[in-house]
């Protein structure tokens, strides 16, 4: 029979017992993003999305009865640093799963290490085709490839007035830029659209006048711009200065958010291929999930337009959590196997993985949704 003292002790112990599940070691999830350097804006947005997802997951009891802990490493917009960051996460922090690494160049640099250490990685942004076709069974990409993006865009050609007849390219000179140029070239060329001039720029370049002046001389009516947020902003501003006089479509899902507060002069409308349009969450495939993500982001007071990329980190974390649940334990090989069974409703839409690449060594590739947002005088619209 319980006496008063036993009851009191039991009462005191209750909060500790109820916390027992969360007192367990957290499950560590490693992420590497470009938090500084040439494409830092995007990397920070993606990292913020992942942080929100970790909070949402922990608020609803964590995963496998344990809290999740996001361990973030800066890859400094540099492939060499990306490899060092991934090795640090795997070897020192002992994470059983990675998320990364924004640019295709950084992701491709890390990929041999995934094979070496046998750790799966959710690729949240990179679009180069060979990430999932080179035979790396530790890679699971939730982002669309450049080809998927180009094919989806080709279906929207009828929405452009005047019609797109000839295209040119201004692309960052890396795997991301070259890959997008090649795939848009092929997808739109197959629709009978003529191909004009291609200009490239280094990721650090700030003065793009020579490239834009050269493109101005071509008779293309539309220029596809493939690079990070910073160079998108510079290119759009310098295109006005050089009177480019052509429609500009940005690819890759990044949005030049600083042009909302500092708009281009009237009469300049740009088009942006995005995978989440936060101005219109009700139009997302799963509005409730998109609205929750958007609300949590806004509650933090972060840059609104960062939502366009932050969802990548958010969806990647939800994907990892779902795989952990299916695996039943935070072990790399079990997570890799479980990722093939994931079926999840994310901000961008349904997430699941189809096999790509050589038989027996397949990577996972999701089929995400694509939308085109217009930007004119600091205001956005949905095409």
């Amino acid at each position: 029979m319980m006496n008063r003292r036993t009851l009191l002790l039991a009462g005191l112990a209750m909060p500790a017992l109820s916390r027992a599940g969360f007192a367990a070691d957290p499950i560590r999830i490693g992420m590497t993003q470009p938090l500084t350097g040439a494409v830092a804006a995007s990397g920070n947005y993606v990292a913020n999305g992942a942080k929100i997802a970790a909070e949402v997951l922990n608020a609803s009891g964590g995963v496998l009865g344990r809290p999740v802990e996001l361990i973030l490493e800066d890859n400094k917009s540099n492939p060499r640093e990306a490899v060092a960051a991934a090795e640090k996460l795997v070897l020192r922090d002992k994470v059983p799963v990675l998320i990364g690494a924004w640019s295709s160049t950084f992701t491709l640099a890390i990929m041999p290490k995934l094979m070496e250490y046998k750790v799966p990685m959710i690729v949240e942004t990179s679009s180069a085709a060979r990430i999932t076709t080179s035979g790396n069974p530790w890679v699971f990409r939730i982002a669309p490839t450049s080809e998927m993006e180009a094919v989806a865009f080709a279906e929207l050609l009828g929405k452009f007035t005047p019609a797109i007849r000839k295209i040119g390219f201004l692309s960052v000179n890396n795997d991301f830029g070259r890959g997008a140029t090649e795939k848009f070239w092929a997808a739109l060329g197959a629709k009978g659209i003529a191909i004009g001039r291609t200009e490239t720029m280094t990721p650090e370049a700030t003065d793009l006048a020579a490239q834009i002046t050269a493109l101005k001389q071509s008779d293309a009516d539309t220029v596809f711009l493939t690079t990070g947020v910073e160079q998108q902003t510079l290119a759009l501003r310098q295109a006005v200065e050089q009177r480019l006089g052509k429609r500009i479509v940005t690819t890759g899902g990044s949005f030049p958010d600083q042009l909302l507060a500092n708009p281009l002069p009237p009469g300049n409308t740009s088009f942006h291929i995005l995978f989440y349009a936060p101005w219109f969450p009700e139009r997302a495939p799963h509005p409730r999930i998109a609205e929750r993500y958007t609300a949590e982001w806004n509650r933090k007071g972060w840059e609104f337009a960062g939502l366009t990329e932050g969802f990548r980190g958010y969806d990647a974390m939800l994907t990892v959590a779902e795989a952990l649940k299916a695996a039943g334990k935070p072990e790399a090989e079990a997570i890799r196997q479980a990722l093939w069974t994931v079926k999840l409703a994310g901000v961008n839409g349904d997430i699941s993985f189809a096999k790509e690449g050589p038989a027996g060594q397949e990577s996972g590739q999701n089929r995400p949704n694509v939308s085109v947002v217009t930007l004119s005088e600091g205001k956005t619209g949905l095409l």
Partner: protein, 290 residues
Amino acid sequence: MDQALQHLVNGTVLGGTYALLGIGLTLVFGVMRVVNFTHGELYAFGAYMTYAAVSLLGLDFYLSLALATLLGMALGAAIEFLLLRPMRRADIDSTMLVMIGAALVLQNGEMWAWGGVAKLIPNPFPGTPLVVGPVSVLPLRLFVLVVSIALLLGFWLLLDRTRIGMAMRATFQDPETAALMGVRINWVNSATFAIGSGLAAAAGALLGPVFMVSPTMGDLVGLKAFAIVILGGLGSLPGATIGGFALGFVEEFAGGFVSTEYRDAFGFLLIILILALKPQGLVPAKERIG
């Protein structure tokens, strides 16, 4: 022809800013024999100070540019006093290592203070370009070119017509003799490093609103400044000016007419060619030998 005219204008605008960058670096090397690896970071510092003054404090744009330049000079004077003066008798390698360390501290300080995301600085100029025939240029870029040329001229007057300028030239030619003639070398060094830093900060303050401001913006600029100085002749002030414009034109025309993919490579190809033909650079610095 239209394209060539536009490249000419773009090259002039770019060259003016390159010259401004090069002259501060070459001045410090010429007078102090110090390879200033903090030059690019002082450029970024000028840009961030302008951003802070305009966007955070809401100060007038032109006042902010002046303030950023003065703060750049103050930071330069502090670096000279705290880091370079104690290294006066050290060899050039040790001094270089100290300056590389200082550059890393400055860049990481900027990342810590401002975060990694690039920022835009609002400016009072219209966003629509001025158009003359086939050529167009933003009023802001024109302003930057005019101020750059004014700063270059002002700097030349300072060197040529003032006592401190004369002291700097004397120290440049022969520091020992200058000291024997009563020139206060410590003071000349402080003034030189402050002015060199001020020119870098002014370039950052002017170009920050044209481009974007980020903690790593000084990396590429620092590299270009070194290229300009080597092209013009180490320690040569007219050389840095000519080198700046030469690099601007080569990058612009080769990028526009040959290949933008190798735009930066053309600049360095020019440097290799010039150094092969004139190892001392375009305009070798005059100094007493022996």
